[in-house]
């Protein structure tokens, strides 16, 4: 056994070492972008939307940025923080990428940030929205060009009270940080305007049967605010309608409950739901119309906000690289340029970063409507240039704890 086994072991080692990623490229090779997204597992379809967005932009510029060729290396995070960390190491240490981008889930964002700081390679977060990444726990090397979870909720809460006139609202939201932050932002501004959140229900992530929760909803409410993601977002609206609630309590919610990723799979039960987000595919601007048309032609589906933010991420990198003459090897300069990028005409509208590194951008209040047999998020109101702190003073806002299941407390429950 001995000799044979040795040969096997030695062979295995040679094999493993041999297939290791290639050595570093010469200095002025292509600009390398490392892109992290879930390509397998439950969120694989979202990951695809993200990659599609970036690919579309790079195709448009002929894979040339600041006179240099662009190479994108996509790595699968499997939606897990530890895998994302491993792939981050691979992208930085083996592939020697100049800039990183991507990520979907908040915990991946929190896991990556300290490592990104250690590596000193700038990373764009086009999707990961956890508030504290640009509030109480900012990272020097992370540039968020997406949004914070509570950003659309802040103006929405006040608007719901003042415009829709709802006084009492029941909240039903996925029980994790993203849900808490979206609900927290809504509750804060809604109650400051005079409204009351009278009940908070927290079904765990992955809930498929909402009957026990729907039965608890207080009937003396004026509306229900829902925050659903993934498979739950597909199931919830139908169950809400089947429980006879849709006719009695209008549905409002967080933007992802009804985003363009979910809408094609929903039926008429979704119609009339009002949600805020940083993007709507129905946005009636020439830039967006062109974007939607070409995206559909290329990938056969309507772009989601995941596609839009990653498309804009390509543009973002381009603008920053141009500003420093393509010298992306100078990481400090590159980072500074990435922080200075302003895009006046992205598909989702004008964007620039605030002092904390989060975009100041439009928030769109959208209502699900049916046009030509398809569901669209018609924009019924636009809040221009909303910062993550909305109308609050950043210093004071940051004194409150990050939104959680128990903050703000439910005073009217």
């Amino acid at each position: 056994m001995g000799k044979k086994m040795l040969v096997w072991i030695a062979g295995a080692f040679v094999l493993v070492a041999g297939v290791g990623p290639a050595a570093a490229w010469a200095q002025k090779g292509p600009i390398k972008i490392g892109f992290l997204a879930p390509m397998t597992g439950g969120a694989a379809q979202v990951g695809k939307d993200m990659v599609n967005g970036l690919t579309m932009y790079l195709d448009e510029v002929g894979h040339q940025i600041a006179g240099r060729k662009v190479e994108v290396i996509v790595e699968d995070t499997q939606g897990k923080p530890d895998v994302a960390l491993t792939k981050l190491r691979k992208l930085v240490e083996s592939d020697k990428v100049h800039v990183l981008a991507g990520g979907l889930f908040a915990h991946v964002g929190y896991a990556l940030a300290p490592r990104v700081d250690e590596y000193k390679v700038p990373m764009l977060y086009p999707v990961m929205a956890a508030d504290d990444l640009t509030q109480r726990k900012p990272s020097k090397w992370v540039v968020r060009n997406g949004w914070t979870s509570s950003q659309p909720s802040h103006p929405f809460g006040e608007w719901v009270y003042k415009t829709l006139g709802y006084k009492k609202v029941v909240v039903i939201a996925m029980d994790y940080a993203f849900g808490w932050e979206i609900v927290g932002g809504f509750q804060k501004s809604f109650e400051e305007a005079g409204g009351q959140v009278i009940q908070k229900l927290w079904p765990p992530l992955g809930t498929a049967d909402f009957a026990p929760y729907l039965a608890q909803i207080r009937r003396d409410a004026d509306a229900v605010f829902a925050l659903m993601v993934a498979a739950s977002a597909l199931r919830f609206p139908k169950q809400y309608q089947d429980a006879g609630l849709k006719a009695r309590l209008p549905l409002i919610g967080g933007g992802v409950t009804m985003d363009e990723f979910v809408l094609p799979s929903l039926g008429d039960e979704a119609i009339g739901t009002i949600t805020p987000l940083i993007y709507s595919a129905a946005l009636d601007t020439p830039v967006n119309k062109r974007f939607v048309k070409e995206y559909r032609a290329k990938f056969g589906k309507v772009p989601s906000y995941y596609s839009e933010t990653c498309y804009t991420t390509g543009r973002w990198i381009n603008e920053a690289a141009k500003a420093i003459g393509g010298n992306v090897e100078d990481n400090e300069k590159f980072l500074a340029a990435l922080r200075k990028v302003e895009i006046p005409d992205s598909p989702r509208g004008p964007i620039k970063l605030d002092a904390y590194g989060n975009p100041v951008q439009n928030i769109y209040i959208r209502k699900v409507e049916k046009k030509d047999g398809e569901l669209w998020n018609t924009v019924i109101h636009t809040f221009p240039a909303v910062s993550q702190f909305w109308k609050y003073k950043p210093e004071e806002f940051l004194k409150q704890p990050v939104y959680s299941r128990d903050y703000p407390p439910c005073k009217y429950c």
Partner: protein, 320 residues
């Protein structure tokens, strides 16, 4: 003692692990580090799965307990390595002692289901006890340990050797246990619990002690894992992680200790390396599992042993 050819084989394997790092890309090095840490976890599960015959679907809990001990103690209290190690091991041992009281009332598929449920309890705590664990966003910014060594463990190669030392320590501990009279009694329990009872063994006690040892060593792997990733989240204690550990043991070969460590290496490499080349890596992983079950039901080590003996591995067939 061991036959000479095996000693030589193991020696060469160890030598390769010792001299390989400078020749590997840093990515491969991190994968190898991961494989070592998961190897500890898989070996600890092997003590109850392979040696005692108890299939647990909650073993990721101990990884989580060790990792969360590191996460909480370093980021909040600035605890040093030895404190986190002591707390991690103790916590894992205590939880295993409590879980053992519940789980060891059952055997077979019921044991599997109870351990699954207990694993979910830890997952639920990691997820819901936000003030302690920061919920699903996890604890980030865990610094690498400072042991006062001339090499900084923040670097890849020193941390690899640190993990290798941990691996060898765990291997040694488990090796001694499985070869001890107690270890032999676990094998007896796997083979025939009822016979052990009438021979005079307090079977439950033996299983209980084995369960606690496995949990404690699992906690040890968690401590290393927390430092390695610098990050802890409920994803570490998911059911999927427990299933993966189970597969590592099955793939490598039950009741062989080094087999599960090898299985851990194969799965870590497949998961992270193959996925670099194709997003169809799950298919490949699935094919490897099925291939193992059908053609090498005793795992990689079992197949190698049979091959070495000149026996053709017998494919799994339904008995007529």
């Amino acid at each position: 003692m061991l036959p000479r050819h095996r000693v030589i084989g193991l020696g060469i394997m160890l030598l390769l692990l010792l001299v390989a790092p400078p020749f590997l890309s840093s990515f491969l090095l991190t994968l190898l580090t991961q494989a070592l840490i998961y190897g500890i976890l898989a070996m600890s599960l092997d003590l109850i799965l392979g040696y005692t015959g108890l299939a647990s679907l909650g073993h990721a809990a101990y990884l989580g307990l060790g990792a969360y001990s590191v996460g909480v103690l370093t980021t909040r209290h600035g605890a040093n390595f030895w404190v986190t190690l002591a707390v991690g091991l103790l916590l894992a041992a205590v939880v295993a002692a409590v879980f053992g009281l519940v789980a060891l009332r059952a055997t077979g598929v019921y044991f599997l289901m109870i351990t699954l449920a207990l694993g979910m309890v830890i997952w639920g705590l990691a997820h819901r006890w936000v003030s302690m664990t920061q919920g699903d966003i996890g604890i980030s910014g865990v610094p690498r340990p400072d042991l006062g060594l001339p090499w900084s463990l923040a670097k890849g190669i020193p941390f690899y050797y640190f993990s290798l030392a941990g691996f060898l320590l765990a291997l040694w501990v488990l090796w001694v246990v499985v070869r001890s009279p107690f270890g032999q009694s676990l094998v007896g329990i796997r083979e025939s619990e009822s016979r052990m009872r009438t021979l005079g063994y307090h079977v439950w006690l033996h299983k209980y002690i084995g369960f606690i040892i496995a949990g404690t060593v699992g906690g040890f792997s968690g401590v290393l894992w927390g430092y390695y990733n610098g990050f802890v989240s409920p994803a570490d204690v998911e059911l999927a992680t427990s299933v993966e550990i189970l597969l590592m043991v099955a793939l490598g070969g039950r009741a062989t200790l080094l087999g599960p460590a090898l299985g851990a290496g194969v799965i870590v490499l497949l998961k992270n390396l193959v996925s670099v080349y194709t997003h169809r890596w799950l298919l490949i992983l699935g094919a490897v599992y099925i291939g193992t079950i059908v053609y090498a039901p005793e795992g990689i080590v079992g197949a190698v042993r049979q091959f070495a003996k000149g026996v053709k591995p017998e494919p799994l067939r339904s008995k007529a």
